[in-house]
């Protein structure tokens, strides 16, 4: 397993919306590396003849009939929102440009 650079760790932390100060980063980097190395052990196995699987059991997915319900959930939906206005959740202004 190659060693991760601090930049890569920052990038991954940023994707997960985690923030580290320098102290924590110094402490965390080797720990993170250790976890990766542990998982990387799996790569030592020869899986050439093993079908990839993503699900441990082979029971097929159960489908739900297309029947709708109107729960009128507006009040419940926003009940615990930190910031709300009327029926809306409110977040800091985000715009994709």
């Amino acid at each position: 397993m190659k060693n991760l650079t601090p930049d890569e760790i920052h990038h991954i932390a940023n994707l997960a919306r985690l923030r580290f100060d320098q102290n924590k980063l110094t402490k965390f980097s080797p720990e993170f590396q250790k976890i990766l190395n542990y998982i990387a052990k799996l790569q030592e196995l020869n899986v050439d003849k093993v079908e990839p699987y993503v699900w441990p059991l082979e029971d097929p997915l159960k489908l739900r009939e297309d029947v709708s319900q109107k729960l009128n959930y507006a009040a419940d939906a926003v009940k615990n929102a930190p910031v709300k206005e009327g029926d809306y959740f409110i977040v800091p202004r985000v715009i994709n440009e």
Partner: protein
């Protein structure tokens, strides 16, 4: 323009809202313009502990879409999580299909200037929609409505096979026609039921280049055409001036008719897909596929051919009519009841013109189709003039007026019976002489003449009354 020296590569990722009653993974109703956040539940709000349950109808519609595109269906596909943070995405991941989609390898045939071309469909997969954000103009806040979150979508991805804006339009039209025929989706672009990400790159050597512009979230054919024209000429200018183009994401500014670069968030492209642990693989039984295949609708091309042979209308007309599933059903309904050639002429020349002019859905024509037949019949029987018939059609189609009330209003208002009666009397001296000679039945003939002149728009009793009055005074 130096277009001839350049090759254009266009590909589409189209998000189609599947026509289900409930959302993809929960029982919440799929609606439009409801009270914000009212059509939600713990599943589509992403509450901890809630679990997705896949909608059977969404799967079946996805299979139908794939069959309509001649695609190969994966009997075993799987769901994955696409991870990113955005306030319209309550779970912080979207459930989609990544490496094993529902279907692959389809074809859409398009025709531009009588040349047929096959656009390759790379994949068709199922996924859930996100919510809707509205941004405050004045304050630092955005409003989040999650009624759309979890609405079922099929994403249809083409290869970059399309080589002009015209071909692009043909592809989109064709896709929409097919999906509406199959009742897979209403494809109402204004309601966000048909949205496209458009990929375009221009190269000088004919090969697919490294660089690519992705224009996000387009929901109008007209804007897609404008955006493509703008982006193609921008890339050509860049190449001419030796600029190095890269992969970039753009939005389209409707006011300026120009694309604009979105903040390049290379990090956001890292979605860290992994298998959705809450859903086991999706198995589609071959019996289910066969059943859907057997129930596929007649497709626009065969319907157009059938209209030509069955109703004797022109190929040109029948192709236009067959392009819209609702219109073609209504045409057939009317053509079975009256002269198909006349019906086709009126549909092409007048109905379609009015629908276009007043931006109406073809379903507005469905509502008046019985009375439309009557109107065409009355016109052919010379009971209505061309001008009046056209005026009536517009009032019926656009203003929702009924043919009966229109006929009544005209017969009582705008027909000058006195004038017509006097004309008839002047033109028929023999009948007048007969009447005066005691042959009172000749008034029936005169009444008939008045009715003929009034083009059937007069009340015969009233005509008779007026004639008698005038004749007595002579």
């Amino acid at each position: 323009m130096h277009n001839t020296r350049y090759t254009i590569h266009i590909g589409f990722e189209t998000h189609l809202q599947l026509k289900t009653d409930s959302k993809m993974f929960c029982h919440c109703k799929v609606t439009f313009l409801e009270r914000p956040n009212s059509m939600t539940c713990p599943v589509c709000l992403g509450m901890p502990g809630s679990l997705p349950a896949l909608n059977r109808k969404a799967v079946e519609l996805g299979v139908k879409a794939a069959l309509l595109l001649g695609a190969r269906i994966n009997l075993r596909s799987k769901f994955d999580r696409k991870n990113y943070f955005y306030p319209d995405l309550p779970k912080n991941y979207q459930i989609t299909q990544y490496d094993i989609p529902l279907a692959t390898e389809g074809i859409v045939e398009i025709k531009t200037n009588d040349v047929v071309k096959k656009v390759f469909i790379q994949r068709i997969h199922l996924e859930e929609d996100a919510g809707k954000l509205m941004h405050s103009e004045t304050q630092n806040k955005s409003f989040v409505d999650l009624n759309r979150a979890g609405v079922p979508l099929a994403e249809i991805v083409t290869a970059p096979d399309i080589s002009s804006a015209d071909e692009a339009m043909e592809y989109l039209k064709r896709l929409k026609v097919l999906m509406r025929y199959g009742d897979v989706s209403n494809c109402d672009m204004e309601k966000g039921e048909f949205r496209c990400d458009v990929n375009v790159s221009v190269s000088k050597d004919g090969k697919l280049p490294e660089h690519k512009s992705e224009i996000k979230n387009m929901n109008s054919f007209r804007f897609i055409k404008q955006a493509l024209a703008y982006e193609i000429s921008r890339q050509i200018k860049a190449i001419e001036s030796g600029e190095v183009l890269t992969k970039k994401t753009f939005g389209f500014d409707v006011e300026k008719g120009a694309t604009f670069e979105m903040r390049s968030k290379e990090e956001a492209m890292d979605y860290r897909y992994f298998p959705e642990p809450d859903l086991s693989p999706l198995i589609v039984e071959t019996e289910v596929i066969d059943k859907i295949r057997q129930n596929l609708p007649e497709l626009p091309d065969s319907r157009a051919l059938r209209f030509v042979s069955e109703y004797g209308i022109s190929k040109y007309q029948s192709e236009i009519i067959a392009d819209d599933v609702v219109l073609s059903e209504d045409f057939e309904y009317c053509a079975k009841r009256y002269n198909p050639i006349n019906i086709a002429n009126w549909v092409i020349n007048d109905v379609l013109r009015l629908l276009e002019e007043f931006k109406l859905d073809t379903s507005s024509f469905s509502k008046i189709r019985d009375k439309f037949v009557e109107l065409v019949r009355m016109f052919n029987d010379k009971k209505l003039t061309n001008t009046v018939a056209k005026e009536f059609l517009q009032k019926m189609l656009v203003n929702g007026e009924t043919l009966d009330s229109l006929l009544k209003s005209v017969s009582s208002e705008s027909i000058d019976l006195d004038k017509i009666a006097n004309e008839v009397i002047n033109e028929n001296p023999k009948a007048i002489a007969d009447y005066k000679g005691g042959k009172t039945s000749s008034i029936k003939f005169l009444t008939g003449q008045v009715m003929k002149k009034a083009k059937g728009m007069a009340d015969p009793n009233k005509a008779n009354e007026i004639l008698e009055k005038i004749l007595k005074g002579l």
